[in-house]
């Protein structure tokens, strides 16, 4: 039985992508980070990565670093949103002027009202569309980070003798990755696009007697339904991941221990001092790799989230001004709700990945 388990473990070990090396480097994760991510990390991070398996480098990712990063991101997001706020406010002011003239202008006034609706809708959609694209590319960056780090984490897990846990976690994390990517691309993103389209058409058709606000509300309901369904499915997947990964390796751990990358299996209690030191190194890698992945996901997600929050704040404020000036602020409010959808999609995806990776790291034993 043990021989069969050992044989299966060997096959699994070599069938999985194991990019971690025997010298304990975690450079695969660092070098696999998306372009531009290096600039977001601390200045001497790369130098520190070459020392002590990157433990000192990870220490640089402390609270003060994240606080300053948050501050910088917030400053950039607000400075990006400020011209939008100014322009939309001026647009709304001209809309108010058009509306006030339009009330006394009869049919010409209605045409002027139409022009103001078109301009306001065009302004909003030209702000929202790039945001939607940036949001999708951020999701791609997060997926890229997971795809890069998954083989390394799997290899670390394998090298610590967690054969079943590593395969289970890798399989479930892959499933989560595929499910999130596909659902994001095939379901949530089109729903957001349809929502933007309905909001725009609703704004353009305002005053014609065609009321599309119910359609916009229905699309929002569909989005909420799908995102709730996806979250539920992913939570169940993660629950299974935890249960299966934690219960499966107890028997195997007693008899088999592996060191991966060097391609030399170390069996039973015959661990030499060198192997012991190596495994200690892997333990450090485990901690540093997990922190680096979490940091990378945070660095990729936080600026986009802050940008979305800033734009949403700007749109909500403009909607408020619109209501005060007597211009219909529903158009702007509808576009602000699209920001909510983008925020929900981004937060759900990044949290799911961070939690999944956390679960993966949590099942690794302490050496």
């Amino acid at each position: 039985m043990k021989a069969a388990a050992f044989f299966c473990a060997i096959i699994l070990l070599f069938s999985l992508p194991t990019s971690v090396h025997a010298d304990g480097e975690i450079r695969d994760i660092y070098e696999g980070l998306p372009n531009g991510m290096d600039g977001l990390l601390p200045e001497d991070f790369e130098d520190e990565m070459e020392k002590d398996d990157g433990v000192d480098a990870v220490k640089l990712l402390d609270v003060s670093f994240f606080t300053s990063f948050l501050g910088k991101s917030l400053s950039i997001a607000l400075s990006d949103a400020a011209p939008m706020l100014l322009t939309l406010s001026v647009t709304v002011l001209i809309c108010a002027l058009l509306s006030s003239l339009g009330k006394e202008g009869g049919s010409v006034g209605r045409a002027m009202g139409f022009a103001s609706s078109v301009s306001l809708c065009g302004s909003c959609i030209s702000i929202i569309k790039p945001l939607s694209e940036q949001c999708l590319s951020t999701l791609d960056v997060i997926s890229g980070i997971i795809k890069t780090s998954l083989p390394v984490m799997t290899a670390i897990s394998l090298s610590m003798g967690q054969v079943n846990a590593s395969t289970t976690n890798a399989a479930f994390l892959n499933a989560v990755l595929v499910l999130t990517e596909e659902t994001g691309r095939q379901v949530l993103s089109p729903i957001i696009a349809v929502s933007i389209a309905f909001t725009a058409v609703s704004a353009l058709s305002r005053g014609t007697g065609i009321n599309l606000s119910h359609m916009v509300a229905s699309v929002k309901k569909a989005f909420i339904f799908f995102i709730t369904l996806l979250s539920t499915v992913l939570c169940f997947t993660m629950a299974f991941q935890t249960v299966i990964a934690k219960s499966s390796d107890t028997i195997l751990l007693r008899s088999i221990k592996f060191a991966s990358g060097s391609s030399i299996p170390i069996v039973g209690a015959a661990l030499s001092e060198a192997a012991g030191a190596y495994l200690s190194g892997l333990s450090l890698i485990k901690g540093s790799a997990g922190a680096l992945i979490a940091a990378a996901i945070a660095l990729a997600t936080v600026p986009m989230l802050l940008k979305l929050f800033a734009v949403k704040l700007c749109l909500t404020f403009v909607a408020f001004i619109s209501d005060i000036l007597g211009v219909n602020g529903a158009v702007v409010r509808d576009f602000a709700s699209v920001c909510d959808m983008l925020i929900a999609m981004l937060v759900m995806s990044s949290l799911i990945f961070v939690i999944s990776m956390g679960l993966f790291a949590s099942v690794l034993p302490n050496i």
């Binding site: 301009s119 065009g122 030209s126 089109p190 696009a193």
Partner: protein
């Protein structure tokens, strides 16, 4: 403020002259009314051009300057068409007034068309 006072004064003088001349020389009264209306419109447009420049400069700072231009153009068309339509109605030519207003509406729709097509193409890009 001084411009506004001048406009109000011009309007009062024009209205008084037109009213006085109405009983004896209807044609001259109409001409006076038209002249004073156009004078006031010119003063308002001259006053408004400074504000338009400021708004255009603000709009230039962001990428939605085209939409602001459309609104300003629509506003301009609306003001001109409303004024001319009112003058025509005062002169008893309501049919001409209707045609002028129709031309104004068509002009506003034509001004909006590029933005409508741009918005629809953006929606199309999102959906495909």
């Amino acid at each position: 403020m001084t411009v506004l006072l001048k406009v109000c004064g011009c309007a009062l003088v024009g209205a008084l002259c037109a009213m006085t001349l109405k009983s004896n020389a209807k044609t001259v009264a109409a001409a006076v009314a038209v002249f004073s209306s156009l004078l006031i419109l010119g003063a308002v447009i001259a006053r408004f051009s400074g504000a338009v420049e400021t708004v255009t400069e603000i709009m230039k700072e962001s990428n939605v300057s085209d939409y602001g231009k459309v609104m300003i153009k629509a506003l301009g068309v609306g003001i001109v068409v409303n004024t001319v339509g009112s003058i025509c109605r005062d002169m008893g030519e309501s049919s001409i007034s209707s045609v002028v207003e129709l031309a104004g509406k068509i002009e506003i729709v034509l001004i909006c068309l590029p933005i409508i097509s741009e918005t629809l193409s953006l929606i199309k890009e999102l959906l495909i």
